[in-house]
């Protein structure tokens, strides 16, 4: 049986500051080695200063993944030499002396399959190594410590995945969940990384590291499974080892040193006393926790009669669900949901577009109300949304500027109908024979009014006029 387990590293990018100092947690956009201080580069004499907010955010993640959260947690040192590690040890958590990491024994359901979470730990991200040229040939490696000390949550699963597809679904769910919790922005480069361990029936466990994206993870898993299966078919032993994903050649390569041989000399980090997490804190965090994606989804379906597919899209994307929550009222909920999932989506489907968009919740709610109150036709809403996203102008302003006001005046529509009947005599005759072709004439009226005419009224008037 195929067994896959994951170690996912997720940066708490939504925090103001790093895990042990006041440098920015989100280091992106800084010149190399400018988002640093004596603490995060481990200068002699500096001491870690624990960011309590990070403990809270990590606890919230643990609770969202149904983990147990211990009453007190500890930090440990993991000792090893590496150029990206300013102190040559990493402050992290582990459970060898009892359950002292931020969460353990959780679970999450992936299409009915339960994936168990072994533990969740809070730790510091190392700096970044930048190779000049390709990593194999280069003579020069540059180190950027801007990332060093960024709060990182490691989520370790049990080997419960049976195939790469489950892994992908799990990671999508996890990524939506983390974003919904407001702890991280998984779309940022490097904010979410995963290592995997893979074994097949009768074979040893193989770790795969160095995977840069979730897309590559699936590729790496597929490669590794194929590799292991072909070894098994040829009765060659699958040895326990660590393999690195080669991004360029799309294969896994045996790492020179074996993971099991490394000795990290773990011991308690004396500079950070044990942290007590009082029951009151846990219940406050639980109370303040954002509503889960599944609960939102159910609520949208139940309370607003929103179709399942629309509710799925709306609830799993925090940007959309936040807009919906702010814009909707009892009356316009369904319309707001429709506007978001049918018209708006195309204009704000990337991070950049979302950032540049000038649309706010009031725009959406005004627009939905205008549709309901017949001030504008459903057909014009897309144009209005596009203009709002670009300019941020108010809905009434756009309606008047673009002359999109709804025509429901009988006289006015009748005048246009007269015109159309004159111009389309052939179609008029046809409509008299075959009433179902009358829609063609409705379309012509709409075109002449730039979509402003009330479609129902137009049809009614046309039918009356042609006696059909």
């Amino acid at each position: 049986m195929t067994k896959i387990g994951l170690e996912i590293h997720c940066q708490l990018t939504k925090l103001e500051s790093k895990l042990f100092c006041s440098c920015k947690a989100d280091y992106r956009g800084f010149e190399p080695n400018t988002n640093i201080c004596p603490v995060c580069v481990g200068l002699p004499g500096s001491l870690p200063r624990l960011n309590k907010k990070a403990i809270e955010k990590a606890t919230v993640i643990a609770m969202a993944l149904n983990c147990q959260t211990p009453p007190k947690i500890a930090f440990f040192r993991k000792n090893y030499f590496y150029p990206d590690l300013p102190k040559n040890f990493q402050i992290t958590q582990l459970n060898i002396y009892g359950p002292t990491s931020i969460g353990q024994e959780g679970k999450i359901s992936v299409e009915g399959k339960e994936i168990r979470i072994r533990r969740i730990q809070l730790e510091e991200d190392p700096g970044r190594l930048i190779y000049e040229g390709s990593s194999e040939r280069t003579q020069i490696t540059l180190v950027d410590y801007n990332r060093a000390g960024t709060p990182l949550v490691e989520i370790v699963t049990e080997p419960d995945f049976e195939n790469p597809k489950q892994v992908r679904l799990f990671l999508n769910i996890l990524s939506d969940l983390l974003e919904n919790l407001g702890v991280s922005d998984p779309s940022l480069e490097g904010a979410m990384r995963a290592d995997a361990n893979v074994s097949i029936e009768g074979g040893s466990k193989v770790e795969i590291k160095n995977i840069n994206s979730f897309y590559d993870l699936e590729k790496a898993l597929q490669f590794e499974l194929t590799r292991q299966q072909s070894l098994a078919e040829r009765k060659i032993e699958i040895i326990q080892e660590t393999r690195h994903w080669d991004d360029r050649r799309k294969i896994t390569i045996s790492a020179r040193s074996k993971e099991g041989e490394e000795d990290y000399r773990y011991f308690l980090e004396g500079d950070i006393p044990w942290v007590m997490i009082a029951p009151q804190v846990v219940s406050r965090l639980k109370k303040d926790m954002p509503e889960s994606i599944s609960s939102k989804r159910e609520r949208y379906i139940k309370n607003f009669d929103i179709p399942t597919q629309v509710a799925d899209v709306l609830s799993s994307d925090k940007f959309y669900s936040d807009l919906f929550e702010q814009a909707h009222s009892e009356k316009n909920a369904k319309e707001v949901a429709n506007l978001i999932t049918t018209d708006l989506m195309g204009f704000v489907d990337t991070k950049e577009k979302r950032k540049e968009s000038k649309l706010n919740a009031k725009h959406l709610s005004d627009l939905a109300n205008s549709i309901i109150e017949n001030k504008i036709t459903r057909n014009s809403s897309k144009t209005v949304l596009q203009t709002i996203v670009k300019t941020g102008k108010s809905v009434p302003q756009i309606i008047s500027e673009l002359d999109l006001g709804h025509v429901s005046d009988e006289k006015e529509i009748t005048m246009v109908i007269d015109e159309v009947i004159k111009e389309e005599s052939k179609a008029v005759d046809e409509a008299k024979q075959k009433p179902e072709t009358i829609n063609y004439l409705v379309g012509k009226v709409m075109k002449k009014t730039k979509g402003k005419a009330d479609a129902t009224l137009t049809l009614e008037l046309l039918k009356k006029r042609l006696n059909c």
């Binding site: 200068l43 004499g45 030499f81 040559n88 011991f267």
Partner: protein, 481 residues
């Protein structure tokens, strides 16, 4: 103007207008020039000290507000960061390292207008008991320059003892403040773990070490502790002492107090001169109204082994950052890759540091931790339990600070185990986090003997009362300069 005055006397004299800050600092600098070539208390002397003194005098003249130290020259062990000042840890690894920030203790003293006169010598990274392991040569004991001054804060003790500063700061991981204080006949305090911020102290064994004040009198020591103690947001292990005033009621005496003599610390291995001085100290305590009894702490026999196991483990980790990548000394990296570069540059550590890094790589390693490191932690926690129950019976524990008299250079250099045993009486306070003070008590053939008093956690106030009471019974000679 006499350089041998105490810190409190200095403050009074300046306030009285007996002399200016500049005059005193200038005389101190002259004296350093005269004696330090021989004594080597300092690794570097503050070149701006005289200008800073003049500035402070100006401030005083202009009746501007001035801090309680009023320009008092203070020497600082060279493992404590002073902004824009070379901080070497007496190591080749940090030969050129200039600290970009002030340690919390320095910032607090600076706020009180203390004047940092220089950085003092130590055993490399504070590992040693004699300053013989300084990469820049040892300091000499001013009482007899053929003898070691103790360590690792040897330079800080010599500076105060030889009148090269009024007071100083040291750090104490296993006795490094108390041991040289005892050997140089000054007062040295190792505070309760967490009472003084370690921010800016270059870590050696961070779970047990503290910065401690060193001075000529118990009152001066209390005065300094008032300034440097208390909670610090930059050090998560600090404790709030609610602004305790350690000078207040310092003369309260020890009438009716109970004193326990730690029998393991006055037994075999103790020099007979030291033994008899200790007995004499106890009879002084009794004459002041205290009751003395013997107390045995079984775990003490394992304390030195436990101490070296724990400190080496932590040192192995704390000193890992000295890879000469981000700071350090000049080194041409041509021809090296990461591992060989690190191996090569780290050869610049001296013999004692290297010894402890090797131990520190072994005792906590997988497969050995159970026999060594974890067992050492067990000793630490049992010893703490024992001492806590002892403090239910007595107010203070007393022992000689060092079981032997100061010795000559080179005498124990080739015998690490003999060197380790010098710490036998001091490591207990570190392992258990208790405050301990060394008070100069007697001279034996021109060599000083100090008495150590240990109190329960956060009981520095009563510890100073006992120390002051003992100090009041003594009449010690002036240092021969």
């Amino acid at each position: 103007m006499n350089l041998s005055i105490s810190a409190l006397e200095y403050i009074d004299a300046i306030k009285n207008g007996d002399f200016t800050i500049e005059e005193f600092v200038s005389k101190t600098l002259d004296h350093i020039k005269k004696v330090d070539g021989k004594l080597h208390a300092y690794l570097s002397v503050n070149e701006k000290a005289l200008d800073q003194a003049k500035e402070l005098d100006k401030k005083r003249k202009a009746k501007e507000k001035i801090g309680s130290c009023i320009g008092m020259p203070i020497a600082v062990k060279d493992n404590i960061c002073v902004k824009d000042t070379k901080t070497t840890c007496a190591s080749k690894m940090l030969e050129k390292y200039v600290a970009p920030f002030d340690a919390t203790v320095i910032a607090r003293l600076r706020k009180q207008d203390a004047l940092f006169i220089g950085k003092t010598n130590l055993d490399e990274f504070a590992m040693g008991t004699t300053t013989e392991f300084s990469a820049y040569g040892p300091s000499k004991n001013p009482w007899n320059t053929q003898y070691v001054p103790g360590g690792s804060s040897g330079g800080s003790a010599v500076a105060v003892s030889a009148l090269e500063s009024i007071a100083s700061l040291g750090s104490d991981t296993g006795g490094s403040v108390r041991n040289p204080a005892s050997f140089c006949s000054i007062v040295g305090l190792k505070p309760t773990y967490g009472l003084v911020s370690r921010y800016g102290l270059i870590s050696y064994a961070n779970s047990i070490e503290q910065i401690g004040p060193m001075a000529r009198t118990v009152k001066d020591t209390a005065f300094l502790l008032n300034i440097i103690s208390g909670i610090d947001p930059n050090d998560n292990t600090t404790i709030d002492n609610h602004g305790e005033d350690y000078l207040k009621d310092i003369e309260a005496g020890i009438d009716g107090k109970k004193i326990g003599i730690i029998s393991e610390m006055v037994g075999k291995g103790t020099d007979k001169e030291v033994s008899s001085a200790t007995k004499k100290a106890l009879s002084k305590f009794e004459s002041l109204g205290a009751k003395c009894e013997e107390i045995s702490l079984d775990m003490i026999d394992y304390s030195v082994a436990s101490y070296y196991t724990i400190t080496s483990t932590e040192a192995g980790s704390n000193l890992a950052r000295y890879d000469n990548l981000r700071y350090g000394f000049d080194f041409d990296l041509e021809g090296y890759e990461f591992n060989s570069y690190i191996a090569k540059t780290r050869k610049n550590f001296g013999p004692e540091v290297t010894r402890r890094l090797i131990i520190g790589g072994f005792v906590p390693s997988a497969g050995h931790a159970g026999r060594y490191f974890l067992k050492a932690l067990k000793v630490k926690s049992r010893l703490t339990k024992e001492i806590n129950s002892a403090f239910k019976k007595v107010d203070f524990l007393v022992a000689p600070t060092v079981p032997i008299l100061p010795f000559k250079f080179g005498e124990k250099l080739d015998d690490p185990v003999a060197m380790f045993l010098i710490d036998f009486n001091t490591v207990t306070a570190n392992l258990t986090g208790k405050p301990a003070i060394s008070v100069p008590f007697e001279m034996s053939n021109g060599l000083p003997i100090g008495i150590q008093i240990i109190a329960d956690s956060m009981q520095e106030k009563s510890l100073f009362q006992a120390a002051y009471a003992l100090e009041s019974t003594t009449n010690l000679p002036k240092v021969p300069l």
